[in-house]
Amino acid sequence: MGKMHVKMTVNGKQVEGLAEPRTLLIHFLREDLNLTGPHIGCDTSHCGACTVDMNGMSVKSCTVFVAQANGAEVTTIEGIANADGTLHAIQAAFAEHHGLQCGFCTPGMITRAHRLLQANPSPTEEEIRYGISGNLCRCTGYQNIVKAIQAAATTLNTAAKEAAE
């Protein structure tokens, strides 16, 4: 029961490593790749602080074995900012609209919101609330998180429209 060779694409870069199959994806990201953006909150797949994108879907990386993620394409909060290093519209909107207080849930919230807006670029407030229902925030009461996602959707839709013209 030794280690296995693991290969995946993380934030656009090919990475590889040796890991026991039982290693959880969150541990591999944080401890082997030093990507400490995704957080371990509850460690029981409830809180969503460990949310990352895997093969185009939001998943909770505390409940995925690294062996299952072998060959996958993964995006963490570290891969969300714009290529020039400026904040992504969702990150900027969280700052602007006070979408965070302590910040612990924020990487998971933003990674989840990022995928949600790709699947549904103009969500209603209700769709946002259901869309982030797997992410818990103990500070904000969600109001400002929802506002931030709404604002980011508007910004992104305006930018997409301008780009199309």
Partner: protein, 288 residues
Amino acid sequence: MIPGQFEYHRPTSVADAVGLLAKLGEEARVVAGGHSLIPMMKMRMAQPDHLVDLQDVSELKYIREDGGDLVIGAMTTQSEVIASDLLAQKCPVLAEAALQIADPQIRNLGTLGGNVANGDPGNDMPAVMQALDARYDLAGPNGTRQVSAREFYEGAYFTALADGEILTAVRFATPAAGHGWCYAKQKRKIGDYATAAAAVILTLSGGKCTAASVTLTNVASTPLHAEAASNALVGTALDAAAIDKAAAEAMAVADPASDGRGPAEFRTRVAGVMVRRATEAARERAAG
């Protein structure tokens, strides 16, 4: 929480997966989405020596019509059930139930096959399958067989699935066009198991109920097919008296434990309320 060590296998066909299980013996477990098994392994309530991951068995990922049946491959995720146009058109109760399971991230990995095969009385799809009178396709070293969803569940985590067998698909007769349907679930929060939940599938003709099945989630060690409750609806106009009778019959078979979701008496009551709500919604949705 760190699970025990295991060796990892990723077969690409059902035949290979069944072969692996036969070779590795009873210390091997199949993993689909992993959202029941991995938490159990993290708590060391499950410590398999071998994990056989079905994610690359693409022949288990489909939703299709086969003659008069709807057939869903075991590795179809809850998100795929929700997104299916075919199911939205022919059997919308599945998406209604899937949307009440866990949260978006978990539904992206959690599978229909895992939900029905695992035997957790808190899982929602088993009762829905019983309401649809589904059959499960099982593949094992001695070939394939089918077991009725109404006979599959023996106790909490005990099912008719034998060692070395894999549940490969669920299938059920496509419900009649215009059928009434509902899955009503009371839970404390998103992601919670049901305090009690009820599935109702029925058909109306000339304002009379001609067929009905009522099933319950998480009020016993298995899902329950509430036959007396179902019979209480058939032949009636689904009026208040009939719905009262069905709710009472469902409460009579409910046998929940007292837990964080409430005392047994309360959860039994909730089962009655869920049957009432599901029946009323199914009546409104039914044509005829």
